[in-house]
Symmetry: C2
Subunit: 196 residues, 2 copies
Amino acid sequence: METKPQERHRKPRADAQRNRERVLEAAKAVFSVGGAEASLEAVARQAGVGIGTLYRHFPTREDLFEAVYRREVEQLAELAEELKTEPSPVEALRRWLRSTVQFVATKKGMMAALAIVMNANSELAAYSHGHLTRSIGALLARAVAAGEIRSDISADDVLRALIGMCYMHDQTGWQQSVLRLLDVFVDGMKTGKARE
Amino acid sequence: METKPQERHRKPRADAQRNRERVLEAAKAVFSVGGAEASLEAVARQAGVGIGTLYRHFPTREDLFEAVYRREVEQLAELAEELKTEPSPVEALRRWLRSTVQFVATKKGMMAALAIVMNANSELAAYSHGHLTRSIGALLARAVAAGEIRSDISADDVLRALIGMCYMHDQTGWQQSVLRLLDVFVDGMKTGKARE
DNA sequence: AGTTATACGGAGGACGCCTCCGCTTAGCAA
DNA sequence: TTGCTAAGCGGAGGCGTCCTCCGTATAACT
């Protein structure tokens, strides 16, 4: 009896998935510390897998960068989701924006890597742009619906402002500066002119 | 007779200076094509010097990036100087801005490298920012003095706009887009509302 | 011409990249 | 359960790059 030439696929093996996850976690840690050109063998070591396994899951360094980055963007989206339960919509927005700054800050080494990947893969740019815009949009909408902030600012506007602000991340003390600017920005969007 | 313990320094050797120049030239070429992680041995090869010589002049890869970048910024400054003889001040400004875009375009691979270096060395950022602002300032001043453009735009403003526009250099076709935007921008600065 | 500080080149050891393949194991069917 | 096999694993090994070190060469100076 011939077995059908495999139209049905087996369920992906559990260990494969686990290893993939481990590598991503390790990569995040290693790249954050060692920058974009950290050794992939170090990543494999830290993940406790063989170098071959790493290469099977992520054939190129860029693939790994990309996967790590996607994960992070998705996590930001999840954070936005969670923040929906935060009582004050404006506070939720502020918190999310601040998290983003944190996100950029811890990725010092990765930013350069991302510049490369983004260049080569505009689909990734679109993907993250979409995710981020949607997250901001949701947070904005809630705050607007509550009448807490003005309604003529789009999610795109906010994202652009955010990116622009973080673009200064080469100067020392940029982080505090951006956090201040964000506070001002959020305050500026409030409707009631009564500041807290 | 003891020779004084070398308070006076010899004139730097001619071959050393020549080699340094060669390496910089080669590095510019190699990095433009091969990106930030091109082989340093390839650079030495192309420059026609030993690898040891390269390392003596530029102990780290970043040192080399930095030197190449400084040269380029200085060349942009020189271009601004030359453009002072251009009959139409506005045209001079436009030409310079367009050159800058070219500059960014050919440095595709280098941009990521620069992001790293800029992060680690804010003196370099200040240096280039200063040079660029001064170049723009000179071009602006001449155009303003000739009454061709409005006078309430600072060199910093122009630089910020320029950088912001080039920041989109991950999308395909960004270059044409930026060139168009620059034209609009320059047109917008003209005083007489009569377009050419 | 002689002296010497300065610079040169490239061999070599260490290390990272990536491929390849023999071994292991999870999923599946009987 | 048991056996089968596709899917997955690890790491040895070949190759290229990094960077140091040092014997040789030579420009600047006397």
